[in-house]
Amino acid sequence: MKQITVALAGNPNCGKSSIFNMLTGARQHVGNYPGVTVEKKEGYCTHKDYAITIVDLPGTYSLTAYSTEELIARRFILEESPDLVVDVVDASNIERNLYLGTQIIEMNVPLIFAFNMSDVAKRRGLEFDLEQLSRLLEARIVPTVGNKGQGGPALLDAIVQTATEGRKARTHKVTYGSEIEEELAKIGQCVRDREKPLTEKYGARWLAVKLLEQDRDVIEKTQAPEVLQVVNRSIEHLRTIFHDEAEIVMADRRYGLISGACQETIRSSVELRHDTSDTIDAVVTNRILGLPIFLALMYAVFFLTFTLGKYPMGWLETLFGWTGAAIAQHWPADSALWLRSLVVDGIIGGVGGVLVFLPNILILFMAIALLEDSGYMARAAFVMDRIMHKIGLHGKSFIPMLIGFGCSVPAIMGTRILENRRSRLTTIMVIPLMSCGARLTIYSLFIPAFFAQPWRGPVLWIIYLTGIVLGIVAAKVLRLTLFKGETTPFVMELPPYRMPTAKGIFIHTWQRGWMYLRKAGTIILAASVILWALANFPKPAPDTLASLSAEQAKQTSLAHSVVGRLGRAIEPAIKPLGFDWKIGTALIGALPAKELFVSQMGIVYAVGEPDESTSTLSERLRAAYTPLTGFCVMLFCLISAPCIATIAMTRQETQSWAWALFQFFGLTALAYVITLLVYQIGNLF
């Protein structure tokens, strides 16, 4: 089979992802471009005897050297030599979208335009003379509706045709007017003479254009001083003529070209395009109504998550409980009891504790995906921006923070939408304070154990609120000290409101939910097994247990094990917080994943064989501790040491161990201080 490599380019919000998904289906692979945290997405499909590899480049508005995404997209096209580029364009928004197109045209690579969202364009009354436009742009144009799966075969046909006909010289070039063209000719000639290897690789014309634009990347690559001199002279010359930088004039000329081509080929029969969106926005981003509407929606999201999720959660709990009991019962008696304990207590207890929360998390992610796909999220960022700005963050920061209420791992990954590194670091540092789904397992155990109705709801609320308030304060402090600096100027496109598709929501929900599952399947499974071992070994000699009751025997065994000893070792340190060695043990056990705190507490209070006469864990906790201690435990868990998966993700997204460890120790120290204060003060009453 013959091979074709296609690069997929396009603006953000143009539906590029849906085209990618439409062409490649499940055959995708996500990795990283070396050295940076930008995702590299590759997919595969076959069409008419050709094996097609599709590389989904980052969405960009242009191909300058000003951002990592643009450089990556540009480098791929120029250096990896794909057979062709498909530029996905939002057909209802052609003029702006084609700006990127002109830059790709200048790279002299075979090009196809996918006019996506063509259904929206048609609804708006836009009519295209695609033949004429195709001739002017010298590229095939395929109308598509990515999120409905339309246009795929036609696009694939065009890809095969374009790839097989080979490179053709262009007749319609992107030109910039006589003055600039004169300078470009001079620079081009100089480049051809003095930078032969560069010319071979990139072409004299493209280099000249970039040099005149003072493209940082190209300038760095240029070594001949004569070239740079000529460039500087040209820029000076053009500055006197236009009273502006050549770069700006060239941008202007590009739009002129696009405008000209569009005027000839596009007819619009409907004038009003924005009115419905505007009306909705007037309400939703209204100074007075905006924030309450946002808060109401957030409340609805969480309410839904907790109430709807209760049912599947209950089923899963029952399922795991039943499975554990069944295995325990049918296990051949007296053979490898340790293995039975490993499977029932360790694996099913540990991993089950995590999976039980999957429904909740999926519902939360689904709600967020709904808000994102419909276009509301961008408006919410607008509403939140005012508040975020006061703590030194972007309005956009709140989106990853929201995801953090489900799980920190995808939340930290979600900070990629923030361009300012300092804002991003600050957001990453405080995301763990947005109490995640794992910690909810701890609250679900402790709150009913220590607080009667009607206090339960408010206590939960207080805990979440504390996390949020601390997050805000911490962000402010970080921005004033470590991460001081200007916020990037805020520019964000507001996509039009859209009806989200079931498929789109499913894909977005699944992508984040999968990360949570993977965490469960790997880290937590491994950690559960290790913890089980540490909590069960070394076992004390059998005769020391012989004279003790069942209860006492369990206690002694635990005290004897590694975990027990560690717990005792830190007891003096945590006593001022109202904790004892059992809580200390559970805290240590929760390091890999917060959900393990509960299973550890369970193990600490009932290590060994399940016993019919044991009271529930709740009752035992109530008997052992005061409500103040119970509250302090939850507080400590809220703030301290994020789980290993979170630390690992922080390290990945910041590319530095220093920040990951700072997050870990910083939060733990904060937790210690605050819990100390709360406990000591609480004790006075």
């Binding site: 508005y61 242009s62 300058t64 000003y66 209802s92 928004n93 052609i94 003029e95 702006r96 700006y99 990127l100 634009e213 003072q214 502006d244 930088e245 770069e247 700006i248 941008a251 202007d252 739009y255 395009r273 924005h274 969106s277 505007d278 926005d281 007037a282 981003t285 100074r287 961008a378 960022a381 607008f382 921006d385 005012r386 309005g395 916020t487 100027p489 805020f490 520019v491 964000m492 496109e493 507001l494 996509p495 039009p496």
Partner: protein
């Protein structure tokens, strides 16, 4: 006699009004970024929302774009 429109910052334009972009007083990076989003000379800008305090929303080249107030100060229009 035709009254010439004064060149003024975008931040001073009231909600609902349409203006023409003259120039952007900013560094090259910002300039380029704005240009790639459609903000170049002689482009029509419609101000959708200009309320104090809070970001600025405009429509340029058929796209709705949200800007920080600082940015709106730097964009000169008439």
């Amino acid at each position: 006699m035709k009254v010439e429109e004064q060149i003024r910052p975008l931040s001073s334009v009231k909600t609902g009004k349409k203006v023409l972009l003259v120039r952007v007083n900013a560094g090259r990076g910002l300039n380029s970024r704005l240009a790639s989003m459609g903000l170049v000379a002689n482009t029509e800008i419609r101000v959708v929302s200009n309320s104090h305090p809070g970001p600025f929303v405009i429509i340029v080249k058929d796209t709705r774009v949200m800007l920080g107030r600082g940015m709106a100060h730097k964009i000169m229009v008439k």
